[in-house]
Symmetry: C3
Subunit: 339 residues, 3 copies
Amino acid sequence: MFLRNFWYAAALRDEVGRQPLARTILGEPVLFYRKLDGSVAALEDRCSHRRVSLSKGRLVEDKVQCGYHGIMFDANGVCVSIPGQDTIPPQGHIKAFPVVERDGFVWIWPGDRAGAERGKLPDYSLCASPNYAGRTDRMRIDADYLLSIDNIMDLSHIAYVHQAYANDVAAAIRPTVKTDGATVTATRAMKDIENPPLYRRVIGTGHVDRVQELRFTPAGHLQLYVTIRGAGVDAPTLNVFYFSQLTPETARSHHTFFGVYRDFDIDNAEMTKLMGDQTVITVSEDKAVIEDQQRNWDQDGADRRMIDIAVDRGPLEARRLIRRLYEGERQDTAVAAAE
Amino acid sequence: MFLRNFWYAAALRDEVGRQPLARTILGEPVLFYRKLDGSVAALEDRCSHRRVSLSKGRLVEDKVQCGYHGIMFDANGVCVSIPGQDTIPPQGHIKAFPVVERDGFVWIWPGDRAGAERGKLPDYSLCASPNYAGRTDRMRIDADYLLSIDNIMDLSHIAYVHQAYANDVAAAIRPTVKTDGATVTATRAMKDIENPPLYRRVIGTGHVDRVQELRFTPAGHLQLYVTIRGAGVDAPTLNVFYFSQLTPETARSHHTFFGVYRDFDIDNAEMTKLMGDQTVITVSEDKAVIEDQQRNWDQDGADRRMIDIAVDRGPLEARRLIRRLYEGERQDTAVAAAE
Amino acid sequence: MFLRNFWYAAALRDEVGRQPLARTILGEPVLFYRKLDGSVAALEDRCSHRRVSLSKGRLVEDKVQCGYHGIMFDANGVCVSIPGQDTIPPQGHIKAFPVVERDGFVWIWPGDRAGAERGKLPDYSLCASPNYAGRTDRMRIDADYLLSIDNIMDLSHIAYVHQAYANDVAAAIRPTVKTDGATVTATRAMKDIENPPLYRRVIGTGHVDRVQELRFTPAGHLQLYVTIRGAGVDAPTLNVFYFSQLTPETARSHHTFFGVYRDFDIDNAEMTKLMGDQTVITVSEDKAVIEDQQRNWDQDGADRRMIDIAVDRGPLEARRLIRRLYEGERQDTAVAAAE
């Protein structure tokens, strides 16, 4: 159940250079490379002649040349030369994807080109803000991206999947979940709780008030804004921004781009490393659970008896929203086809 | 063609402890663990919530807690707590299997719970007898368990698959095969033959009389009672008990629990090791042949021309018995469904 | 799309000895071995009893004995003994394939036995000629053999796939392609060109005239005759013979037997090694491209938009010829079935 008319993170800025990068996005093989002016191109990773992967070819200035028979395509997918002949058949051109770079990410738009407006880019300006410090990483997860959404939208799993990191208090607190337009928000406020291990290293072992506001925005943006306030009038407030961006690879796998950014102690590289590494461990633990789940679902086939429980409210709202948008896209496609 | 209403060896005693053990039995994922009183529990290895493997969770006294959202099940599969809510839906419970421990094995009953009587347990008391010494091992074989039954029920294969261990005389002797109720017995008596290599180490190189009585009892018990008598009136008689218990894992794989026990020189640990190691080699040689056969059958598909030969009598009788019991179980299920 | 009524290279001479060799040819498992008189036998690699691979058995003089129950077959596939019984059922025999050895290759005929005439053997006498020196190698390629035919029949790929070896002039020259009976010939003549790197080592850096005559003969013979003449009246002429013989393994894989032989400097073992090693590199480079192509075709499924271009004339003629012969074989089979 892919939503196509959205911007998706396709790569971290540094992954794309003059060496062609092959990556499958929403089931489509895509080739990324950086043009001489520094901007990024994204093309269908198939030569129109015999479907060899263009990513195994080579760049010639801003063009990519197929490594098999030397056919050349420009950054718009236009076939500009075929060795051995002077004419280019119209079917020789390949698909180019709208692509932009912002906030450290390379963004791709797999849907109808007409809708690819820059204004629809999701906001990750905190990742590029001078007031925040942090790190972004990437991982592949061998499971439907919806399982990752289920995972993150229910923070109660933290107490069990991430035991070392969790505190028992949080597990017992039911979040307030509400859907507002195309955003599902789950909020948990914890008053006068023991400071969880990670923050202890930052603001000591005293009790704190903590608010977690988790926002899901299609397709695949999970943003967790955490506010920790020491339990006292003059206590400092810390802001931490966690996120996972899920980009489907196939129906059974997805890329996740995830990071943690903070607005305190921002010159402390060791703290950046500590929190970044901790987040990699967290995502790895989630990955293990989700991949087990996917294997079980595949293995058990249609016989998948399941129950919903109270903590599923967030995940279920998110799935409802995705389903609604998906039906909308299908309808749009049907209308477009009828016109 | 699984027979469900039988006890199956699921694990060796020492495999089951306070660390959850995951094992697939007759196509079903099962979780085994030992309760605080030392008895064994066997549960469906799926959380009723999102089908994560419970074996990846943790034990809390006699309960198992899912590692994803903390849902807890007791040793009877009853869902006893769901974090974040007070009620337990009836669909929240999971399947528990009848399970007992005897003669060094953990036995599971995958069929109708009503029939799981202790009296139906197969007899492996020799493995626990103070008059016998020996060892049991376990192996996975990537083939239908019926191919292992074919293999063992025709001892003529020994001369070819286990050349180092075999003697040529035996290969030429056709066994007497008879089916009596739910047991197929194949007997070969050899008079005044050269002592096969293994026993030479025990009772010298002289000629011996040897009787092999091989019994197949569903589902999957192959017991070989060997009697070796030195060729003379006062010659000693040695008894050796070989067995393989086959427990289907999937339609294309099975577990085998096998061992060799003897009633002579029982304090000789070196002899136990020697005969145990020899049996591991033997089963490994069989595994290689059977897995080749399974690969060929899979690859050749429906086009599987085959002939039956004289030595197949034992295997064919065993397959006939299994087929009869299988049809019986299907009929019982149909009757139960109709009632 | 296998053509069955043709001789195929199945093995290099030295691959077949007294150790059974298993190889899949046109989807059929075949066992090769050398008889005591030095001639080669090729049998269906399945025991007629339980379909175990005979190649895992052992040779007894000119017979092969199944490693499972000792059933024995002669070099004609006749079942000559079944331990434990005196009679041999007619279904006990297995298929034997016509097989001959010539020019360093073991040739098999997978089709109707009646047509397996020695006169139809392809001509690789240059490989055995005292006037030529060279080397033959073997490789497995995980792709339909037709993709290798496409690859070789269009020599324009050399400039891109084998850059180190290629010269730019050649890429621009369109070959003359003609089909004559059951042979497609593609000829490229290059006048007064820079000597390509490989030959430079042999006849210096001066300009040369070069003629490449590439012949495709079903099923799977690609023979490239290269003539290099120094640009002058008295300049010497070098002859180089490259070939690839493609033998389908499955619908998605094939064996290639390839080599390079020359008529100059034939006592120079270092030159033989140099040219042989270069050819191995060349075929490895082709293998990488073709396997990428096969993976893409498999992954993209039916949605395989492709265009034909000018340089495809050779490949397309070759495919047309194969298609015609294939339809002929199907018709013959239908007629034979109707008679």
